[in-house]
Symmetry: C2
Subunit: 298 residues, 2 copies
């Protein structure tokens, strides 16, 4: 297949998964007729029509590799994306990053108010765990409990929320590459890994090679994010650009410069691809996603 | 048994469960050697040495009735108490109730900072779901998934977080008794009910009569809270007294006056006791807790 045909095929696949996830999220988020209407409306505002859906794409790609049922993948992907959406809403609050723009729209606390944004994040996190527990996602309920645990570990104080806390403490400090990696493996990598794992687990236990892929691609995602924050424009990103350096946040760009950061992302992409070798052609979508994550411009 | 002997026996039982829950919480909360140390320290500050542990007491009382294993009850009770602790930390934030005193100590955002308090609440919620999924709590993993779901439904936008949102919108308005009940069944009642249900479910499906008890006692708890907020002192409560009326929050006292609110709590106590009739003497602790919740002075 020529490169352009492959690209078109990948783009079509992405579009179809994004549409599927959008409709699954819309179906699983309570609607405004349900009380409290304003909270439910704000939860939808925070979650729908937003982002590239990188985590759900990884969930579907991993699930397609292991032969998971698509209806299960919709639920698992929705749960991961709700955790992601909750983290963005809370990160944007005045006491955290104090940001006004997200995905090209006013942030939740700007569009609604701070108290509502706090509750939106809280309730989105809860809903993620509700989705993972109230739908049949695995033939063996014990495996499904392991999925709940995987998401909780990824999101908690030794995962995403912990990475956020380390990030807070690190502001204004220079971190070594090892310290940066420790932070980002938690802040961003843990949930990206969980997205891959949960997708695979919809069909059975997650293969170890897939966990390696997930770890590497999770870190690559953050390295590229740092480069884009330093180099891209706010209009392209749909969120405030350049805010890391303005706030004195240590990034891969501040630690090693943009060129070496790009090269590091490239290394991670190559090693993520290597981890997929045992799966052969069945890992096509995961391979394409590794390229997409590292080569993206926004 | 004379009333005083019964009282002493109940007090001893309460003390033993409270100590057990304290040690289970201490064991299940990550400690400061684990990074991020400050976040973990703040999570412990928010959760340990605090409160009457009403929800854990209900979990144990329900579990003793159904014959549940005590080690399972420790986990279920810890999970419920972590959800409660997270809700207090977030409720106290400046954008919500902006409170400085909780359980006789400075609130988390005062003792640490707002961003840390936000993450403490977020990570406590996650840890509750981690505990419920990583420990064996039921012989049947499908029943354990139902426990995860029960906690999520109780905590989410149609439960506790939803009640909080309704409360926000209601500030400055006069609510009817029916509207107040709608709010409080969610804001406080849902998690209290879940505490009872999860305790019972450590041994098997929750009996319907126990759900009725849980619903009534959950509402009674809030009615009494409203009365105490209006009548008790800050020193006795260990949290700021009189804040509801100062903030124009509708309460059972503002809706029906203190005397009728007390009488309503008494009615709920009687009907909660009635719901326990089918269980006979085995429901002793649940009966005593209904009395304790309604007759408490703090």
């Amino acid at each position: 297949m020529a490169a352009s045909a492959t690209d078109a095929d990948f783009a079509a696949w992405m579009g179809s998964i994004q549409a599927r996830v959008e409709s699954a999220l819309a179906r699983n988020l309570p609607g405004p007729p349900q009380v409290p209407a304003r909270l439910h409306e704000a939860m939808r505002y925070a979650t729908l029509e937003g982002g590239k859906r990188v985590r759900p794409l990884l969930t579907f790609a991993a699930g397609e590799l292991t032969g998971a049922d698509a209806a299960r993948l919709e639920i698992a992907a929705s749960a991961v994306e709700m955790i992601h959406a909750y983290s963005l809403v809370h990160d944007d609050l005045p006491c955290m990053d104090d940001d006004v723009l997200r995905r090209g729209k006013p942030t939740v606390h700007v569009e609604y108010d701070e108290a509502t944004a706090l509750l939106v994040g809280d309730a989105l996190q809860t809903l993620a765990f509700q989705l993972l527990s109230e739908n049949a996602l695995a033939d063996d309920p014990a495996l499904q409990l392991a999925m709940v645990k995987a998401l909780a570990v990824a999101a908690g104080s030794r995962g995403m929320a912990g990475g956020q806390a380390i990030d807070l403490e690190a502001t204004g400090k220079a971190l070594s590459q090892a310290e940066l990696e420790f932070m980002h493996v938690r802040k961003t990598g843990a949930l990206i890994s969980a997205a891959v794992k949960l997708g695979a687990m919809c069909a059975g236990p997650c293969p170890a090679a897939l966990e390696q892929y997930a770890h590497r691609i999770g870190l690559a995602f953050q390295v590229v994010d740092d480069v884009l924050d330093a180099e891209a424009s706010t209009a392209t990103l749909g969120k405030t650009a350049g805010k890391d350096s303005k706030r004195g946040k240590p990034t891969y760009v501040s630690a090693m410069g943009a060129a070496r950061a790009r090269a590091f992302a490239e290394e991670l992409r190559a090693s993520a691809q290597e981890a997929l070798a045992p799966f052969g052609a069945a890992a096509l979508r995961l391979r394409q996603l590794a390229d997409f994550i590292v080569l993206r411009k926004f």
